[in-house]
């Protein structure tokens, strides 16, 4: 039905309609969002770590302990001790702790909650007495909520977190958080010694622990702790001054760990200890060098893939070769080079690598070899990559794609 109106009113109505459509079209449903300028992390780069490598951070700062969020769209890491995270595609850093906080490890328990092991003030002693804290994204302040004191090691669990508590070098206890962040099981049976590192089996029913026995200086024992029965047992012990480095890994085909002589002989040509990867069956026994790795291989750190079928390994084929990322297939006993880097220094800390949740890539930390001369660059420091330790995502093919 058409209304009978005069020509002038009709024209005014048409103009008003056009204006209304125009204004409605130009208005914004959301509040204003600025377009982020691209950062190096947004694009694929080849910093010497192979094709497909992507920078996940840029700029100065000593970065460590990468940890992917459960959804895989963010990555947390430490910078000069404090904790940050950022989107894996592009975007700004988000700080989780104050800059005087020294974090040792971080574990995501949900896409917006991080559990942080660390201390606000370093004591200056050999070991910082660390506590376990909870931090949530989106909270205005950088205040942390303390979950436990005297915590020596943490590890992710499918439904939460497992951690070791111990007030001294003589005994430790395990605690579990599941379905939230509060401790919902504190195991009464203690473990003799100090738990230095731990990780869970694929089923989440047992934990493997690297333990420093009471009175010893080295982490030399491997224990298994049954989380259902609340009982642990020693499965192997290293001789002499050998020490276990980093976190033992529980694969579908045995337990793997990195170990070696703590003090390398002064007659040796190399200045750093030569560590190897060892395998020990779950039932226990004498550890054997990991099959397929090669007797000259110098290992730095290992991480089991999310499916438990592969081990990411950072190390060198021999003491004189460059550090690279490898993948070990424990079943096939085959070591595959993922990077063939000659120029970059890949960081070799025990926690300086992490699998993405889908098991398709590994985050490592690397930098170019620092110059002894002043270096001049035409970019702001915050955009520089190879001049500082930065995170890189390196694609890893599946077992069927092994070279």
């Amino acid at each position: 039905m058409l209304f009978r109106v005069g020509p002038a009113k009709r024209f005014a109505f048409v103009v008003l309609s056009a204006t209304a459509v125009f204004v409605a079209g130009c208005s914004r449903a959301d509040e204003e969002v600025s377009i982020e300028p691209l950062v190096p992390a947004a694009g694929r780069v080849d910093p010497g770590l192979g094709p497909g490598t992507r920078a996940l951070s840029s700029g100065p700062g000593y970065k460590s302990s990468p940890s992917w969020s459960p959804g895989g769209d963010r990555i947390a890491f430490t910078v000069d001790g404090y904790v940050v995270d950022k989107p894996t595609d592009s975007g700004d850093l988000r700080r989780w702790t104050t800059k005087d906080f020294i974090a040792k490890d971080t574990v995501w328990i949900s896409d917006d909650t991080l559990m942080i092991l660390g201390a606000a003030l370093p004591s200056g002693t050999e070991e910082i007495s660390s506590s376990l804290y909870r931090a949530r994204a989106g909270e205005d302040s950088l205040e942390l909520e303390r979950v436990g004191k005297e915590v020596s090691a943490v590890g992710p669990d499918r439904e939460g977190l497992i951690f070791a508590l111990g007030s001294g070098a003589y005994e430790s206890r395990l605690a579990l958080t599941r379905g939230g962040w509060r401790v919902n099981r504190l195991y009464t049976r203690s473990i003799k010694g100090r738990v230095a590192a731990l990780s869970l089996s694929q089923g989440g029913e047992e934990a493997v622990l690297a333990v420093r026995p009471p009175g010893d200086r080295e982490v030399s024992e491997l224990h298994i702790f049954d989380l259902r029965k609340g009982k642990g047992r020693e499965i192997t012990r290293l001789d002499g001054s050998q020490e276990i480095v980093g976190t033992p890994q529980w694969t579908e085909h045995g337990l793997y760990f990195v170990a070696g002589e703590k003090n390398t002989s002064v007659e040796s040509d190399v200045s750093e200890p030569l560590y190897e990867i060892y395998r020990v069956p779950e039932e226990g026994g004498v550890p054997e060098p990991a099959p397929g790795v090669g007797e000259d291989f110098v290992a730095a750190s290992i991480r089991v893939s999310p499916d438990g079928e592969r081990l990411a390994v950072i190390g060198r084929l021999n003491p004189n070769s460059p550090t690279n990322l490898y993948v070990l297939d424990p079943l096939a006993e085959v070591l595959t080079a993922v990077t063939t880097n000659e120029d970059m220094e890949i960081k070799t800390g025990p926690d300086d690598l992490a699998w993405s949740p889908g098991g398709k890539s590994v985050a490592v930390i690397a930098r170019g070899t620092p110059s002894t001369e002043p270096e001049v660059r035409a970019d702001p420091a915050a955009r520089l990559l190879g001049e500082f330790y930065n995170l890189y995502e390196i694609p890893v093919s599946g077992p069927e794609g092994a070279q």
């Binding site: 048409v14 130009c26 190096p40 694009g43 100065p60 001790g81 002043p374 001049v376 420091a381 955009r383």
Partner: protein
Amino acid sequence: MKDIAFWLSGATLAFLVTAGAFLLLANLATAPSEESLNPNQAKGGSGQAVDVILDKEQLASLEPRPDQSLDLVVENEGGEQLSDVNVALRVFSENTALSDSRYYRQTVEKIPAGEAASMRFEFDLLARERPVATPTANPEPSREILEIRTTTPEGTSTVRTVILPP
């Protein structure tokens, strides 16, 4: 019938006016964003180019002490005279946990086309204590960083970052 024709033509006119307005706005909105999305843009803005020339030997002679000097040359590579070029020096540590950046600023009043202006910055280069060695804090001595940024009134900026060995 006449009314129907009138309403149809009115609706068509309204559609065309609205579509035209959106096209105009879309073109206006995208121009500056495309410019800001260049990741390797060392020289920002749309004005003429400025180069910053540093003396490598002098950089190598800098020591972690107060009262250090940095001579630099700002070169106008364009075809027009530049006025009021701001030159800022930021001195800071590679260790990002140390929040003690120092800022120094000078302005060059005029740089004729194709010519250069020299200037000197006097600044302090601090000696850093070796940080506490923890698995996540840097066990190495931190390097000092000098970031020099020139900005013209037109918005052209040029950056040079100098990383000094420890």
